[in-house]
């Protein structure tokens, strides 16, 4: 005889375990899993509870009238900042950077005026070590919920048990290819560098950023993305200098060139890949089957911030699922927060650029802290550019 609750449950225990295993293997999407198990509906209902932020009102002048954020190109929905300004009266100045090194350099030199910035996973431990960022006061971030975050992408924000940074989103560094212009298949970083010297001669771009440009050159040669071994770096330098005359540009802001079809192929972050593909379907985004980078970006507050109350207010605003979901739809980067995941429309969550199959992520590596400070990599990049 079957129990009544079993008959009413959307899924049997056996079926749930089965689906869970399929999710773990990566053969179904998280969205599918949440859908068939009914967990999605349950959390979606919970998530629609009015949040603390919605009821919190800031007294006039409490947050000042302006603040400044340092972030990456094409990484936010401009409407987010406009609605934040409308809600709080604080105008947001946006500074855009092409590398973590540049952000670190500015903070080391002092006087940035940033109240919030967006460092990548591998840099947080160095910022903490140098005393450049504050431990976050989580009581000022009521809309942040550590329990709904995917630990795989958030652990580097926590140093010695203290939370210094909370995740913005995760992503990968792959290859964007204009299939109308390049007919040869591009499936690996090895292909990328070969085609950059042949079919895409004068039309390929690499980042103005040591981590990805050196890292992907290393990967194409069969080495680790994070290598700091001098003999491996020497081989990567040789390759990069050989490729350089064939490149269109060395620039981390590659969307304008790809959109104008000045460039036909570029190193590309997930969010840019999704944006480019959305507007120009002929631009494909592929992950190197030989490796590459998986990353998560964080929000952190510099110790030197001039307007910390506004920094916290904007951060909490961005952590509010209803606001974060708009950001994710606009910038196309995958979320680390299951609350946001549930609010995203199916066409986003089923987009393989944004949420690739787990198997494609396996060869990828997270950036390692040592690459940020290693003088060998820094100097290699500078030599490559000035060669």
């Amino acid at each position: 005889m079957t129990k009544w609750y079993r008959e009413n449950a959307p899924i049997t225990a056996d079926k749930l375990a089965d689906e869970l295993m399929r999710l773990k293997r990566g053969s179904v999407s998280r969205r599918h899993f949440l859908g068939v198990t009914g967990l999605g509906l349950a959390t979606a209902v919970l998530a629609r509870q009015p949040s603390l932020f919605n009821s919190a009102a800031y007294a006039a002048g409490e947050l000042g009238t302006q603040m400044s954020i340092a972030t990456w190109p094409n990484y936010h929905d401009p409407a987010t900042f406009e609605s934040f300004t409308a809600a709080t009266g604080v105008a947001v100045e946006v500074n855009v950077f092409g590398s973590n090194e540049e952000m670190l350099a500015k903070l080391q030199a002092g006087g940035t005026g940033w109240d919030l910035f967006v460092p990548t996973n591998y840099t947080i431990s160095t910022y903490v070590k140098l005393g450049l960022i504050d431990e976050l006061d989580l009581s000022k971030l009521p809309n942040y919920d550590a329990s709904t975050e995917n630990a795989r992408f958030t652990n580097e924000g926590i140093v010695d048990g203290k939370t210094y940074a909370v995740p913005k989103n995760w992503g990968t560094t792959g290859i964007a290819v204009n299939a109308d212009k390049i007919k040869a298949p591009v499936t690996s970083w090895k292909d990328f560098f070969e085609i950059a010297m042949t079919e895409a001669d004068g039309r390929a771009m690499v980042h103005d950023y040591q981590l990805t440009t050196i890292g992907n050159a290393l990967v194409s040669l069969g080495f680790s993305f994070n290598s700091i071994k001098p003999e491996e770096l020497a081989k990567a330098e040789e390759l990069l200098i050989k490729v350089k005359p064939h490149l269109y540009a060395i620039n981390s802001d590659y969307q304008p060139s790809m959109r104008a079809t000045d460039a036909w192929m570029t190193m590309c972050w997930t969010n840019d890949g999704a944006q480019l593909n959305r507007d120009m379907p002929e631009i494909k985004f592929v992950l190197g089957k030989d490796g590459g980078e998986i990353w998560s970006d964080f929000y952190a507050i510099p110790k030197s911030a001039a307007n910390k109350p506004a920094g916290y207010a904007l951060l909490d605003y961005l952590m509010t699922p209803a606001n974060a979901v708009k950001e994710h739809i606009a910038n196309g980067a995958p979320t680390t927060d299951s609350r946001v995941m549930k609010l995203l429309p199916t066409d986003v969550t089923s987009n393989k650029i944004v949420y690739p199959d787990e198997a494609n992520l396996t060869p990828l590596e997270f950036g390692a802290a040592v690459t940020l400070t290693d003088p060998g990599r820094a100097e290699l990049m500078a030599r490559f550019k000035s060669a």
Partner: protein, 288 residues
């Protein structure tokens, strides 16, 4: 009495010079000393500077030979191109233009300065990019022309950006030109070409040299135009410096390169001025 007046005069002179002297000490001499000290230091493990006394930064200078070479070639080349384009314009403005419209025309030369160079250089990125001139060329059957991110694009940007700085000094020196000298030359049988080469050009040389020196010096520190129109591939010393301070955070090496650049500029300038004095046969060059 006479001594007293002299003291007073000296005091007034000192008072007049003091603000400029203080300004130069605080914003030029002290930073330069800091840079010299840094140049003999070491890169800290996480980047930046840590005290030391080493010549290793100067020993590493050859690794930036390409950037120095690019700068030392493209800066004078850019200045000369500017000169070739600017001289006829300045000549027209000073000698040929109707005096009624002269002020208007001279203002038009300066008008672009009212907009930021950054914005104007961005405009060139779109003009030279695939949707700009190459797109027009493809309409008449010339496909896949690439203009942006080439040395030619950088030179074009340089000529465009610095042209007014070349036109103005030449214009000023030509405007002062005594017309009677031209008439005298003609009276003595000089053809227009020989009058120009024998009278006009030598008399405008101070303006030419000022313009060339001004543009060359500014170009030696150029960063923006190679970055935007050269795609980070046409590399000036200015770009190498930005990289050393903002990417590899090697302040000592950056300082060593900056100090070397200053030394090179001083030498280039002195040699150029010597040559100028010889050519002009006069010591009336109003620079340095």
């Amino acid at each position: 009495m006479r001594v007293a007046t002299n003291t007073k005069r000296n005091l007034i002179t000192a008072a007049l010079i003091a603000p400029a002297a203080a300004w130069l000490t605080v914003f030029l001499v002290l930073p330069f000393i800091a840079m010299l000290v840094f140049a003999f230091g070491e890169r800290a493990p996480e980047g930046g500077y840590q005290p030391a006394f080493t010549f290793v930064q100067f020993a590493n200078l050859p690794t930036r030979a390409a950037a120095f070479w690019n700068t030392l070639m493209l800066a004078p080349a850019g200045a000369l191109l500017c000169l070739i384009v600017a001289y006829p314009v300045a000549y027209y403005l000073a000698v040929k233009a109707n005096p009624r419209y002269r002020l208007l025309l001279v203002s038009l030369v300066v008008v672009p300065f009212w907009t930021s160079l950054l914005v104007r250089t961005y405009a060139w990125m779109y003009i030279l990019g695939s949707r700009g001139i190459p797109n027009l060329l493809s309409m008449i059957g010339i496909e896949d022309v690439r203009m942006l991110n080439t040395p030619g694009a950088v030179l074009l940007g340089i000529v465009y950006g610095y042209l007014p700085l070349m036109i103005m000094p030449i214009y000023v020196s030509l405007e002062k030109l005594d017309r009677r000298l031209l008439e005298a030359s003609a009276d003595l049988g000089g053809k227009p070409v020989s009058t120009f080469l024998g009278v006009t050009l030598p008399l405008s040389l101070p303006g030419v040299m000022t313009g060339v020196a001004l543009v060359t010096i500014l170009l030696l520190g150029e960063y923006l135009i190679p970055q935007l129109l050269g795609g980070g591939k046409v590399f000036f010393i200015g770009n190498a410096l930005v990289d050393l301070f903002l990417q590899s955070r090697n302040w000592p090496f950056g300082s060593a390169i900056a100090v070397t650049l200053v030394a090179v500029v001083v030498v280039v300038l002195m040699v150029a001025m010597r040559i100028a004095w010889k050519v002009a046969g006069t010591r009336q060059v109003d620079l340095v």
